[in-house]
Structure formats: C-alpha cells, structure tokens
C-alpha cells in the first residue's frame, strides 16, 4: 500500500468514525478492506483510493470507514460487569423511575454478543423487580454488515464456545444444519438492532437509562473520544448510567460525567450537570 493511500484511508476513518489508525496498522487496513476491495473488483487498495479521489462517493466512504472499525467481541466478555448491571444498576434505576420502564443502549455492539449476553442474563432472572419492568434494549453499530449479522443471531462453532456456558448454549441457541448456532427468536426479538454512527446527531434514538459502550472509544483519537462521549452524554437521562469496557476511563474526556458513587464501574452525570438539569 502506498503512503498516500494509507494517509487517504486514515483521514477517511478519522473523519467518519473517529478511528485513529497508525501506519503500523497497515496490515489491519488491508485485512479489513479485503472483502470490499474484492467485491468492487479493485486490483489493490491503491486502486480503490485512487478511484475514491477521482469520484468521491460518501456512501462508499462510510462503508469503508465502518469496515475498518474493530469487530472482535465475545459473549459475556465481562461477566462481573453484566452481573453488576443486572443485579444492582438496573434495579436502582427502576426504583428511581416512575414509569416502570427502562431503556438500555449497547453502543458499538458489533455482531451483537454484548446485547445478547445482557438479554440472556435478564431472561434468566427468577426473583427480581426487573421481571415486571418494561425493558427496551437498543443495540447499534456503525457497520451495517455487523448489525445485519447481529440481527440474524447466527454464531459459529468457535464463537459459541467462548464466554458461553454449555447450559446457556442449550437454553438459548439452536444448532443449524450448517453447524452454526442461532440464538432463540425470543431473544432476537427483544433487541432492536439499528445501524447508527455515534457522531450522528442525537435524534431518533432518544435517551437512555443505561448505556454500554465497550471497547469503542480506545480505537479513536482523543479529540474524537471527547466528541463521542459528548454524544453519549446527550443520550443519557439525568439519572442515567454509562458503562465502558475494562480499563477504560473518561478521565480527561468529559467534565459532565463522573464515576458513580452508588454503582461501581459506572459513570453518571456530575452534580453540576444534575443541578442544571433539575433547575
């Protein structure tokens, strides 16, 4: 790949999805764009870059940027966090709600494992006030291809054996003749999967009681992280909670959000923000 091609693709990724691609990640660009490049019959990524330069195509550029985002995800990636959300955060949020309704958003859900893990855990509750709650689960990703796969809920031999116990596999999945496993229709219908770019205006998604945005921010440049956190903040109800991936922090990224005192590992609106909202 020529230097100019790298620079053009890196600029496109930064603009569209905030991704900070270093020259050391050239191999990653080649791997992630191989399928698109083949489909469009380009001889190389240099050809693809040249074509985009001479004939700009915003839709194709958005697709390329989405294809470049990290997709790796596993079921129950952080079991402890899901336990805290289900046994502590959500019941607290429900107690504070006067509608009996909770809206949850998995932002940057890739192929859906995180949202399905949460839905599985919720469906397994025996005694919890959450059983009576009206829970809306929205899952989004910038990649239409990832969201399409998430919606289909088909997972391969290796995917279903990482993070999932055999009991959960039997309870929630059905083996297909292809050898893949499909998650139950009930769970698939519990989640609204949508394609959405974090940098799009707040608009149609509305506000949420709880947002999970795991392993999304670290791939971005710091400026874009700040912008993305501001967008997430726009989507959070005044008492809402934001959860990030392991070892992620908002320190230096937002003055509006601070670590929650009540729920370990969660971020909430700072006192100043809450006071302003209440005024």
């Amino acid at each position: 790949m020529q230097d100019t091609t790298f620079q053009q693709i890196a600029a496109l990724a930064l603009r569209e999805t905030g991704q900070d691609l270093s020259p050391a990640k050239t191999y990653l660009i080649e791997a992630r764009l191989a399928a698109i490049s083949r489909r469009e019959s380009f001889a190389s990524l240099d050809d693809l870059a040249h074509c985009l330069k001479s004939r700009p195509n915003p839709r194709f550029e958005a697709e390329i940027a989405a294809a470049l985002t990290p997709k790796k995800t596993v079921f129950f990636d952080d079991r402890d966090q899901i336990d805290r959300i289900v046994s502590h955060a959500l019941p607290e949020l429900l107690k504070a709600s006067n509608t009996g309704r909770l809206r949850i958003w998995c932002a940057g859900v890739s192929t859906g494992q995180e949202a399905y893990s949460l839905a599985m855990r919720l469906s397994e509750l025996d005694e919890s006030p959450l059983r009576q709650a009206d829970i809306e689960l929205v899952a989004t990703d910038v990649s239409g291809q990832a969201i399409g796969a998430a919606q289909l809920g088909l997972f391969g031999h290796f995917d279903v054996q990482k993070g999932l116990s055999i009991h959960r596999l039997l309870a929630h999945f059905e083996r297909q003749t292809s050898g893949d496993w499909q998650i139950s229709k009930t769970l698939r219908e519990q989640i609204q999967f949508r394609r959405h770019n974090l940098f799009d205006p707040a608009g149609p998604l509305g506000r949420f009681d709880l947002i999970l945005c795991r392993n999304v921010l670290p791939a971005m440049s710091q400026d874009k992280q700040i912008e993305a956190v501001a967008r997430l903040n726009d989507h959070l109800y005044p008492n809402g909670l934001l959860f990030l991936g392991k070892d992620e922090s908002l320190t230096g990224l937002s003055e509006d959000l601070e670590p929650s005192r009540g729920v370990r590992g969660a971020w909430c609106h700072s006192q100043t923000v809450r006071k302003t909202a209440a005024a």
Binding site: H157, F158, Q161, K162, S165, I166, L170, R175, G179
Partner: protein, 127 residues
C-alpha cells in the same frame, strides 16, 4: 503427574495422542499439572490412585468410552468431586444433554483452541 502440591491436577482422557498433546500444552499453560489416559478404563485406574481436580474427557474411545467412564466415576468414592469437561466431536443438543445428565459440568465441541479451553476453565472458576 503431580509435581507441585499447590498446583491443580487435570487428567486428559482421549484416544488420540495428537489431541492429548495439544490439550496437554494448553492446560499446562493454565498452570495445571497434567496427566493423560488413552481410554476410560485406564483413566478410572488413575482416578483410583489419585483423584484429579479436572478431567477433560473424550466421548468415543476404545475399551471404555467417555460416558461409561463418567457414570462409573460419579458412582465411585470421591468421584463426584472432579470437574468433568466432555471434549468431543459430538455436537448435537441430544448428546450434550445426555452428557450433562450423566454428570458432566461443561462441554467442549471439537475442534477446540486455547481460547475455548481457557474460557471454559475460567467459567468454571478453575483459573
């Protein structure tokens, strides 16, 4: 064989030497001492002299298959203690359910890799 008393012990039962070698390497990396058996009968003998903490168990083997071993193990003295993970080519829900009913704690469908073994050991609280 157990070399360090504070390390947990895993017995790998599989008639394929290749599978035993691959699993041996993966489980040693998880800080277990590892021993091997090529069929259910010799695995039972090993359990009688030293009960392992974990057993990675193939289903289809000569002499004594994995299910017969599992049933005998669970009926034997101290045989309810080890965590048993079936590790087999059988992939349909009926086989999985049968293994769980017979006393298996987890189930790995072949082929497997280090991530799968690590994930299962982690879920079982073994690492």
């Amino acid at each position: 064989m157990r070399t360090q008393p504070d390390m947990k012990h895993c017995l790998i039962v599989d008639d394929s030497r290749v599978v035993r070698t691959v699993a041996h390497r993966i489980i040693t990396d998880l800080s277990f001492t590892v021993s091997e058996a090529g069929d259910g009968a010799s695995a039972l003998k090993q359990c009688q002299s030293q009960m392992p903490d974990v057993i990675l168990l193939d289903w289809n083997m000569p002499v004594m298959n994995g299910m017969d071993f599992l049933v005998s193990l669970r009926r034997s003295d101290g045989g309810k203690a080890p965590v048993v993970i079936l590790c087999t080519n059988e992939k349909d829900s009926d086989h999985i359910s049968e293994a769980i009913r017979a006393g298996a704690d987890e189930y790995i469908m072949k082929p497997f890799d280090a991530d799968i073994v690590r994930s299962k050991f982690d879920q079982l609280g073994l690492v």
